[in-house]
């Protein structure tokens, strides 16, 4: 009985956002009703996803096959711990982000709000699809649809800059996925005759030596959403989008879909045992390390707040990749936890950036002198988010870094340890100046006129306080995510 119910819930999790999209179209002319509906459905999605939790914590795996495209190649959705974790994060943050969007889009009098909410809902549906995908083909379909559904969001402003950014966004994401990811999937299919995610991997014994390394790289670079250098340029480009998009999609849903897919491929397609025997994993580890450090250094030089956050995201994403490719059981746990921890922290930071923009139309860090006193809530939340990024207690970021270091020690990966330490220092170096500027510099020292403004609209403040609290709460009550992540350890 339980499994039957879960199957329906899995489908519901993907249908609810689509339903939201349809309803939004129908009530196009009534903004209040439209926004209320968005919130209600996002809460319903959260309830749906949370009600799937008990069964998975008991160790059940539910699977549902919709149809078979080609003999042997079905569209399947499977509930497993890592996907559950990702789905929870996205479902938890969607209502908060919707609330924030309402404040932001109205506060900035953005146009085409209906289109914005529709695309957002579709993107969420694709995200759920990625989280619950039961084989590579299903994952790939949802992955591509996510890219396409976010394109109108990235180019929302419709000006020349947006058009150019849209080209970079689509160009990199589509060319990596079609050029490398699809090829890797086809190659895997040719070798194994299956694309299912299996606990022990499906490639074991089918490929070895240099070919294995080539295949690994096709996957790692094919999943462009993970923003491993040099495939990272789409992420800063995507920052032309309205801030709610940068917050939920380009700090959580889209980018996490990338690293999530990498983790999935490593665990369920290659299998850890197989990769431990190959040099390829080390190479990816080095590239991830390089990305962490160089993205942090680039972040240091950015004055535009959103761009600095974007480069910080690139660096943080590679933490997950790095953690996975340490290939220790505990580092897998760390990778899963970091997906959660970074999501809460980075959403908070982006919310704060959008809040500052809505209240004062400031976009650069050098303009933020003393802004902490004008916008105390916003900057308090920002501070919490920044601490989590650096990885200090009492925030979620500490947890994942802790496990990551343990995993690295377990596997005697000195390189990984050094990278983590160096990047923690760099994280501090680019976040602490912002906090210092906001709280300790006198207002009016910067060039330009003094704008008198207060705190952002209530919806925005409420949303960013929620995510900031979540960042703190996760440190004190990490049970559920930790349990889910620990379930991965057996692989």
């Amino acid at each position: 009985m339980i499994s039957l119910a879960s199957e329906k819930l899995i489908i519901l999790a993907m249908l609810l956002p689509l339903l939201a999209a349809v309803l939004i179209v129908l009530v196009d002319k009534k903004p209040n009703l439209r926004d209320a509906l968005s919130i209600i459905i996002s809460l319903a999605l959260l309830a749906t996803v949370l009600s799937l939790l008990p069964s998975i914590l008991e160790g059940n795996q539910t699977s549902i096959t919709l149809l078979e495209i080609v003999p042997g190649l079905p569209i399947t959705f499977t509930l497993e711990p890592l996907g559950m974790l990702f789905a929870c994060v996205a479902a938890l943050l969607w209502p908060v982000n919707t609330l924030y969007s309402i404040g932001y889009m109205r506060g900035n009098k953005e146009k085409h709000q209906t289109r914005f909410y529709i695309c957002f809902a579709i993107a969420l549906s694709c995200t759920m699809g990625i989280a619950l995908a039961g084989n590579l083909l299903t994952l790939f379909i949802c992955y591509e649809l996510l890219t396409l559904s976010t394109y109108p969001l990235v180019t929302h402003k419709g000006n020349e800059d947006a058009k150019k950014a849209g080209r970079v966004y689509l160009g990199i994401l589509l060319s990596t996925s079609i050029g490398f990811f699809l090829l890797a999937i086809l190659w895997t299919w040719h070798l194994t005759g299956t694309l299912d995610f299996k606990a022990e991997g499906i490639l074991a014994g089918k490929i070895a030596g240099p070919e294995l390394i080539v295949l690994l790289f096709l996957y790692v670079y094919g999943i462009g959403k993970a923003a491993l250098m040099p495939m990272h340029r789409w992420l800063p480009a995507a920052m032309v989008a309205p801030t709610p998009v940068s917050a939920l999609l380009h700090a959580v849903a889209v980018v996490k879909a990338g690293v999530f897919s990498i983790v999935k491929v490593v665990i369920y397609v290659f299998g850890l045992d197989m990769l431990r025997l190959s040099d390829g994993a080390d190479w990816v580890l080095w590239i991830a390390g390089f990305t962490i450090i160089s993205a942090s250094i680039i972040a240091l030089k950015q004055d535009n707040l959103k761009r600095r956050l974007a480069y910080s995201t690139i660096s943080q994403l590679s933490y997950v990749t790095l953690a996975v490719f340490i290939l220790a059981p505990l580092s897998i746990v760390a990778a899963a936890l970091h997906i959660v921890a970074h999501a809460f922290g980075k959403v908070t930071l982006f919310f704060a950036a959008g809040s500052i923009y809505t209240a004062s139309h400031k976009t650069n860090i050098s303009q933020l002198n003393g802004i902490g006193y004008r916008m105390p809530w916003t900057m308090a939340a920002f501070t919490i988010g920044a601490i989590s990024m650096i990885g200090l207690p009492p925030t979620a970021g500490f947890l994942s870094k802790w496990y990551m270091l343990q995993g690295a020690f377990q596997q005697e990966q000195v390189f990984a340890v050094l990278i983590i330490i160096a990047s923690t220092l760099l994280n501090a170096a680019y976040f602490i100046p912002i906090i210092y500027t906001a709280w300790f510099k006198k207002e009016g020292q910067e060039s330009g006129e003094l704008v008198v403004h207060g705190e952002a609209p209530k919806a925005i403040v409420f949303a960013l306080m929620t995510t900031a609290s979540l960042t703190l709460l996760l440190f004190f009550f990490p049970d559920v995510p930790l349990q889910l992540a620990m379930l991965l350890r057996c692989y």
Binding site: I69, I75, L137, T155, L170, L174, I178, G179
Partner: protein
């Protein structure tokens, strides 16, 4: 009764309709009769496919003369699939045609236009149905001559030059083909394809057979616009009336590809092809065609011409499957042949709707129309995604099988070319999407805000094809299933 003569009726029905339509008074009547005929033909084609999809082969003796003396129509899954595409596209194009033809073609020519259309349909269906190589030539000429006439009806004066160019190239192609047929007949004394397939192997060493093969291949490469014999195609597609472009783009080249398949795999055999340089040559030309023509498409400023160059590139994909010479390759060719008809049909219909409203096919004149014509815009997006091969569309299935066929032979160059071709498709498809999606600027802003959505008569056929693109992206029973069935009969000696 009907069932016995099904295969012949399919060809005879439009053939008889053509003179009737020609003498009808101008007005809606010619259109109504042709539409009715095309629907009946589609029904018959679907029926025929159902009959042969189980692995049966229908052999119909024309006039009761036994083959190989008489003409034989030999229908297996491959013919039936091609006949289904041709008649299906005709059945959708004709309802769409009503408004478009009224706008683009002078009224006194309507009856003749539909008559020529019926003849073209007859020719294409005949090529698909017949099992006799000389009969094939006759139908080839019927379809070609009628399409020259159809193309020349285009509104601009360039249509005449385009039609003339096609006429010259097409005639050379047909002549080459008939020379090849003549040589084969001289050597074997038969014109029946099945019979030829049995008699040819002992003559494989003979130089005349090689010459005949070369003539036939070059002749049909001209008809299907294989790079570099494609120069007639972009002009013809650009200047022909919209309806003609839709129909020819979705069917004419497909039928020619089918003939290639039949010639290469059934009449000759792949072992024979391997002894000639043809397979390598095909692969080389396909690679050059896919890459070169996709690049060309990117730089086009006219939407119809852009799609025309894309068609030449796509023909490269289909011929790749033949050049690879494997079961998987031939399957991929048939699948892509079907799917490409769906996507190009949908795309040209959508472009046609834009042309209908704006009166020009130049990209700059489409600026910002996505807002005014949301359904047409959505059709272009979905059709375009299918052309790129995004999962969830029919195009993805084509790419899937093509790449698999190349991986199977460890031909990584071809794998790379297919994928790079898809990326180039992203660029040229997005060129159209961007123009439509972003707000109009400059002088087009005033002009284009008054434009309305296309009429329903155009939207419905367009969306049937768009939805078919999505449907066949998920359900491949008809496309892949039939193609696999067909390949087993196409390539004798292949078992599961």
């Amino acid at each position: 009764m009907i069932e016995n003569h099904l295969s012949l009726l399919l060809v005879v029905l439009p053939l008889l309709a053509a003179p009737i339509v020609a003498v009808l008074p101008n007005g809606r009547l010619p259109w109504a009769v042709s539409t009715l005929v095309s629907w009946s033909v589609f029904y018959l084609a679907a029926w025929q496919l159902m009959n042969v999809n189980t692995g049966n082969v229908i052999s119909y003796e024309l006039g009761g003369w036994a083959p190989p003396w008489g003409i034989e129509y030999r229908i297996d899954a491959a013919n039936a699939l091609v006949a289904l595409i041709v008649s299906g596209i005709a059945a959708l194009t004709l309802p769409y045609a009503l408004k478009s033809v009224i706008k683009e073609i002078p009224q006194q020519q309507h009856a003749l236009f539909y008559a020529a259309f019926m003849l073209c349909l007859t020719g294409l269906l005949g090529i698909a149905q017949t099992g006799d190589i000389f009969n094939l030539f006759v139908f080839l000429e019927i379809s070609s001559l009628s399409s020259y006439a159809l193309i020349s009806l285009g509104k601009k004066r360039q249509a005449l030059t385009a039609a003339y160019q096609y006429l010259i190239m097409g005639t050379i192609g047909a002549t080459f083909f008939i020379i090849g047929v003549g040589l084969l007949y001289a050597m074997t004394g038969t014109l029946n394809m099945a019979d030829l397939a049995q008699r040819l192997p002992e003559l494989y060493e003979h130089r005349t057979i090689h010459t005949a093969f070369a003539f036939i291949m070059v002749g049909f490469a001209l008809k299907l616009a294989l790079f570099p014999l494609h120069v007639w195609l972009p002009n013809a597609y650009t200047y022909a009336p919209t309806v003609v472009t839709i129909f020819l783009a979705a069917t004419a080249t497909k039928v020619a590809v089918y003939v290639m398949l039949r010639m290469v795999f059934t009449v000759f055999s792949f072992t024979f092809i391997e002894s000639t340089p043809a397979d390598e040559l095909f692969l080389l030309l396909c690679v050059m065609g896919i890459l070169g023509m996709s690049f060309y498409a990117i730089y086009q400023k006219d939407s119809k011409r852009l799609l025309a160059y894309s068609s030449v590139a796509q023909i490269g994909y289909m011929m790749l499957g033949i050049g690879l010479g494997s079961v998987l390759g031939a399957t991929a060719t048939l699948v892509h042949l079907f799917n490409h008809a769906l996507m190009k049909g949908a795309l040209f219909m959508a472009i046609g709707a834009l042309v209908y409203r704006v009166g020009s096919s130049r990209l700059e004149h489409f600026s910002g129309l996505g807002k005014q014509m949301p359904w047409t815009f959505a059709a272009i997006v979905i059709g375009g995604l299918s052309l790129i091969g995004v999962p969830g569309t029919a195009g993805f299935i084509s790419k899937w099988y093509l790449v698999l066929a190349a991986i199977e032979q460890q031909n990584w160059l071809i794998v790379g070319v297919i994928l790079i071709g898809s990326l180039l498709a992203v660029i040229y498809v997005w060129k159209i999407v961007e123009v439509l999606y972003f707000k109009a600027t400059g002088e087009m802003e005033q002009h284009n805000t008054a434009v309305k959505e296309a009429p329903l008569m155009m939207l419905i056929p367009m969306w049937v094809l768009v939805l078919a693109n999505v449907y066949f992206g998920f359900n491949t029973e008809l496309t892949v299933g039939t193609a696999q069935q067909a390949v087993q009969l196409l390539i004798p000696g292949v078992n599961k």
